[in-house]
């Protein structure tokens, strides 16, 4: 079975973040593979292993100046990567991104498309389902367990009250929550092998989407302002009386 994993290279979330003059997120620093995507890569590798044949392809959109993040997914065991990179895509919204990824993924005719529930930088959280609609595929979001049996995928899907068992015929789009699998660390052998694995770089024109991208996004950030800051209160170093201080505070606000 062939699995596509949507992956995104993002600015390191641990580093300070800022906006460009255009109000787009500043992505000029070092980019890393979104940790949220590592769960999908691991899940894909396990499913292909279980199926006994096929391969994992990582598909991305963004700057291809540095593809270390994608190499990381290849080092984990993905066979190849495809990245759509084009200046025309700067500031693209989720729907435009979905159109681009749908075109890139459609050519691969995968049995399954995996994605994170949302990225850790933009956290729009709609892209995988937009992608499913554009590819005319069923989608199951918020998977906490995934099994494939022949041409059917079964998913335990997170709900407010617990979880649902949901099934769909393949091909399908599934989003995985973090913690569903333990992403493997790339081995030294894997890292060496990743250096020679193919990374295909595509432009918008390669996908025949120049007009679609030129149409723009239909949304605009008009202004960004500082939010009201919350003041800190009292801080104590625990001297064996920390718990009592909390009890006294809870009493003062009448919670107990």
């Amino acid at each position: 079975m062939n699995v596509v994993v949507c992956a995104k290279q993002i600015p390191d979330p641990a580093a300070p973040q800022s906006l460009e003059a255009s109000n787009n997120l500043n992505r000029s620093g070092k980019l890393i593979l979104d940790e949220a995507d590592t769960y999908g890569v691991e899940m894909a590798l396990q499913l292909v292993d279980a199926a006994g044949s096929g391969e994992v392809t990582v598909v991305s959109m963004g700057s291809a100046a540095d593809v270390a993040g994608l190499r990381n997914a290849l080092a984990m065991g993905a066979a190849k990567a495809v990245i759509v990179s084009d200046d025309a895509l700067r500031g693209a919204d989720a729907l435009t991104t979905a159109k681009v990824l749908a075109a890139a993924i459609g050519r691969l005719e995968p049995d399954l498309v995996l994605a994170a529930t949302e990225s850790s930088d933009g956290y729009t959280g709609t892209l995988p389902v937009q992608l499913a609609e554009l590819l005319d595929l069923p989608s199951i979001t918020f998977a906490k367990k995934v099994t494939v049996n022949g041409a059917t995928i079964s998913v335990e899907r997170q709900t407010e009250a617990g979880y649902d068992e949901v099934s769909a015929p393949l091909p399908a789009v599934v989003t995985v929550t973090a913690g569903v699998v333990e992403p493997r660390y790339a081995s030294f052998k894997g890292i060496m092998a990743a250096k020679s694995k193919p990374v295909e770089i595509l432009s918008v024109a390669d996908l025949g989407l120049s007009d679609v991208v030129a149409a723009g996004t239909g949304q605009e950030v008009t202004r960004v302002v500082a939010a009201e800051a919350r003041q800190s209160g009292e801080k104590y170093v625990d001297d064996g009386d920390g718990a009592q201080k909390i009890v006294a505070f809870l009493e003062s606000i009448k919670v107990i």
Partner: protein
């Protein structure tokens, strides 16, 4: 007023409508004179509540036959836009199914979608507010294309207030032919044993983070939550680590909570987490690191080891019980 018509996705929840849906209906009727709701399942049960909160019309998609809501409900809404004309915007609660509907609808209608919205205003058209960088800044955005705009709003952004309106008039909203996109089926539902209030509704939330050290220490968080008649939450780090399910996650990618008091235990205060809890009335933080960012927003900060402070707190609360 430049807005005339807003539609709200009113999600069924335990025989009623979800609180987040009622919040959106409350906000919508303050922005537009004409508010309609869209629901699925038993519309006759929902019509009273939807009307009470301000909807004059309830579009009913009806029984989904076990399908996941995303595809059929989005298809029904797209058909409504075709037959009834587009509203200025369609407001959708941030939830598992709400996001599915928003994504499908966006692609079907070829309209952009604005998510993580915490504020709405009529400012020469619909203006949306989005907290960014952990809520330290707010970005304001608007739609530039054709209506309808699709807006996904975070829970607790507005108060749910009854308008004592008459029941909404039910109008059927058929899904049409779905094809492969509608093929996901719910085979079985599992309700996890839960005691105490829901995370979003609890007056007290006790959350644990990576600093707990190991998964078994989370039992202290649960016990504290029980003793305080509250709910247990978690930082993204321990959800990612698989210690607790995603449904417990508080933060940008999880739930928004605004309890009377939020007890952050061994949580450093990543911006990701802060955006989900900084609206709490009171914040208490316990952390070993005196420089942890969580102390910057805590009303009471205890610099100490959760392994000594929490057992002492549990003991003190037990003695009062």
């Amino acid at each position: 007023m430049t807005l005339t018509s807003l539609w709200v996705l009113a999600e069924p929840s335990n025989g009623s409508l979800s609180t987040a849906s009622l919040e959106l209906l409350s906000a919508a009727r303050g922005l537009a004179s004409n508010v309609a709701a869209i629901t699925w399942g038993d519309a006759s049960a929902a019509a009273g509540l939807a009307g009470e909160y301000g909807a004059s019309t309830l579009y009913s998609v009806g029984d989904l036959g076990g399908a996941l809501p995303g595809a059929p409900v989005a298809s029904a809404i797209a058909r409504l836009v075709e037959t009834h004309g587009a509203p200025d915007a369609i407001l959708i609660p941030t939830s598992y199914d709400g996001r599915d509907v928003a994504g499908r609808l966006s692609a079907k209608l070829n309209r952009t979608v604005l998510t993580n919205v915490t504020g709405l205003a009529d400012n020469g058209g619909l203006e949306t507010e989005h907290p960014i960088f952990g809520g330290t800044q707010s970005a304001f955005a608007h739609f530039t294309g054709e209506a309808p705009g699709i807006v996904v709003v975070r829970a607790k952004s507005f108060a749910a207030e009854s308008a004592a309106g008459a029941p909404a008039a039910i109008v059927e909203a058929p899904t049409g032919e779905l094809g492969a996109s509608g093929a996901a089926r719910v085979v079985a539902s599992h309700v996890e044993e839960r005691t105490g209030p829901q995370l979003e509704d609890a007056a007290v939330v006790v959350s644990g983070g990576r600093g707990l050290g190991s998964a078994d220490k989370y039992s202290m968080i649960e016990e504290l939550a029980t003793l305080l008649k509250g709910a247990a939450g978690a930082s993204r780090a321990i959800v990612d680590a698989g210690w607790v399910p995603y449904s417990r996650q508080v933060g940008q990618t999880g739930k928004t909570v605004k309890p009377t008091v939020y007890l952050a235990c061994a949580i450093s205060g990543a911006t990701q987490h802060m955006v989900g809890m900084k609206g709490s009335k009171n914040i208490v933080a316990v952390n070993k690191d005196p420089d942890a960012p969580i102390f910057q927003i805590a009303d009471l900060g205890i610099v100490g080891d959760v392994n000594t402070v929490l057992p002492a707190l549990i003991e003190a609360l037990r003695q009062r019980a």
